[in-house]
Amino acid sequence: MTRIYNFHGGIHPPENKRQSLGAPIRQAPVPARLILPLQQHIGKAATPLVEVGDQVLKGQKIAEPTGHISAAIHAPSSGIISYIGLQPVPHASGLESSCIVIETDGQEQWCERHPIEDYRSIDKKELLKHIRDAGIAGLGGAGFPTDIKLNLGKDHIVNTLIINAAECEPYITADDALMRERPNDILTGVEIIAHLLQPSKILIGIEDNKPNAIKALRDAIRERNLPIELVVVPTRYPSGGEKQLIQLLTGIEVPSGSIPADVGIVCQNVGTAAAIYRAVIHGKPLISRLVTLTGFALGHRQNYEALIGTPFSVLLEAAEVDRSKMFRLVMGGPMMGISIEDDRIPVIKTTNCIIAATLEEMPPAPPAQPCIRCGMCEQVCPASLLPQQLYWFAKGREFEKARHHNLFDCIECGACAYVCPSNIPLVQHYRFAKSEIRNEEAEQQKAAQARERFEARQARLVREELEKEQRRKERAEAAAKEQARKKAEADATPSDTPDPEAELKKLKSAASIARTKLKKAREALKNAEEKGLDGTEKLKETVAQLEEKATAAESAWQQATGTEQSCP
């Protein structure tokens, strides 16, 4: 039995999980339109491979990763690409972002699949490429492209693989349902991951409030006799946070600014493991996932297997939503989820839960009172920060100090805001401070870049000036020589070729004189017109003449300078 360690803080919010566990996983309907944001994961947005009007099959890759950290996107069902462009997406900003929209044809026609029967026999690189091609991104939280986590290279030695089955947030039961009903999918997925990473230890961390899931997994492990240890941890939010779970199971803290792999640990969600299983064994890319539909505004609260891209409204209808009661729509859990203003937005790879809450269920927070520094937030912070100080600094825009107080180690779990007796929206203050700092950094970088370019340009101008000077000198010398020669010649044959330099100057001043005259005349004309004076006709004539002259002078000069004037 592995020893269970402890992490600082944590809270026990009401669980509200039972409601959605009454019924087994249900298949969600295939919607008429599937909306697939190009960015459903951490990293760069995917690049579309299709165009409007293209016919696509279920499972067909429709967007490929851009660069290293990115994930592919597949058509969840067959149909026609009807639109590529901005659509509302699940994002805290409520802004729109690029999406591919598929008009489904209801055929559910699969494209050709490439299952790998015996993944042990093929090259690991091949296997990883297969996973990458399946577009798998972490289903547990941030949606980090999984293949990168599994492809650690030589500099990371993995000794522990942790499967995150904690599901610590209230309401959510997607992982729970998965574990109850498909434990073998998960375990096979874990085996594949283990095959890739070759860890010396595999731990599954699960909270003790899921007895059925624990039993199902334990039975399956025993049956298949796998070297996997199931560790039951006490229920306490946020034990499912990657860093907290690692601390719970191993006692190791992931150093600030590092990733778990740096301390030899990789952490994957159970759903991710199941997705890997399906991708490898069945050749099915990540086109669907389990979503918990819950909240008291729904008639049926249960887990659905939904296609990625299904609009929330379709799921809500399927769950018999009572819109008059629905007050708040949350994607994710009540602690970390984002609230959704528009129910047309689609399910994405990280959508594990949709809460349609009534007013009584999630009432608006009472107005914030001043922070009395009571320290309750500090007692619950899993990152051992000083939330009240962070708040103080964020509010006062003392970002440097906030940073010194390890603002960036805040995992935004919301435990502090949950307990704050003054109802201060602490997490929002931290997010604000973080994005201000990031923005400031970006701006500084941009300023540095601009300075470099400016200085480079200055230097270039100086250099050019020097070169010009040099050339002029050379030319003058040449001209002097020429003149000397000519003079010598002229002694023989007199000639009157004008000095080019002087000529140029003359032309230039002629042009500018003409310009000034023209300007003055124009002004006079304008003035006259405005005041309705006599003689505007005559003035107009003059202006026209002058205009001609000016253009002539200008072009003469331009021609003369010609080559030198063109762009750098």
Binding site: A92, S93, P364, P367, F432, A450, R453, F454, R457, P568
Partner: protein
């Protein structure tokens, strides 16, 4: 009378000693360069727009280190003023309206079909953010453009627009939870909510 003489002599001798010491030190320990200018320059936005009345950010930085006001840079805005005040231990003052006001960030956009390729904008751009050659269409390298709008005026056909940098989920910033002194809703969302929720 002797007392006056003693006094003068004593102080004089002190002064001579000190004069020698300081005169010696003035030469011996002379230091060149002024690192503070670098620091100030580092805080300025490097937009190089000249709105401060100096030909670029660095000259303004030098002017500040010589005592000029710190509130003349509109692109930097209030945050730059605060940073400068912090660095120089001066008081935070509002932006001097004479030099313009803080505007949202913009980038130049050249309507390419109208561009006649006169290269005027290229000469105007302090950071070489415009690509193109004589008599050819010009484009702005968006990532390099500082939004200084120096290229707008020289353009003979007025084909350059300054457009605000669009907000996308990638560059979106979390808003500050506002605290209105009268309302106590420190979270804009929450305040909004209550007003609607009570309906």
């Amino acid at each position: 009378m002797t007392i006056i003489l003693t006094a003068i002599l004593i102080l004089l001798s002190l002064a001579i000693v000190f004069g020698v010491i300081l005169g010696f030190a003035a030469v011996r320990f002379k230091v060149e360069g002024d690192p503070i200018v670098e620091q100030i320059d580092g805080l300025l936005p490097q937009t190089q727009c000249g709105q401060c009345g100096y030909p670029g950010c660095r000259p303004y930085a030098e002017a500040i280190s010589n005592g000029d006001a710190i509130n003349k840079c509109p692109p930097g805005g209030q945050s730059t003023i605060e940073a400068l005040a912090d660095l120089l231990d001066r008081e935070v003052v509002p932006l001097d309206a004479e030099h313009g006001e803080e505007k949202p960030k913009t980038v130049a956009y050249i309507r390419e079909d109208e561009c006649i390729g006169c290269t005027k904008c290229i000469q105007a751009c302090p950071v070489d953010a415009i690509l193109g050659a004589a008599k050819q269409m010009h484009t702005v390298i968006v990532s390099e453009c500082t939004g200084c709008d120096l290229c707008v005026e020289p353009c003979p056909v007025d084909c350059i627009d300054m457009i605000p940098v669009p907000v996308t989920p990638n560059n979106w910033k979390w808003p500050a939870p506002v605290s209105d002194p009268n309302l106590i809703w420190t979270d804009r969302g929450r305040g909004h909510l209550l007003q609607e929720g009570t309906e």
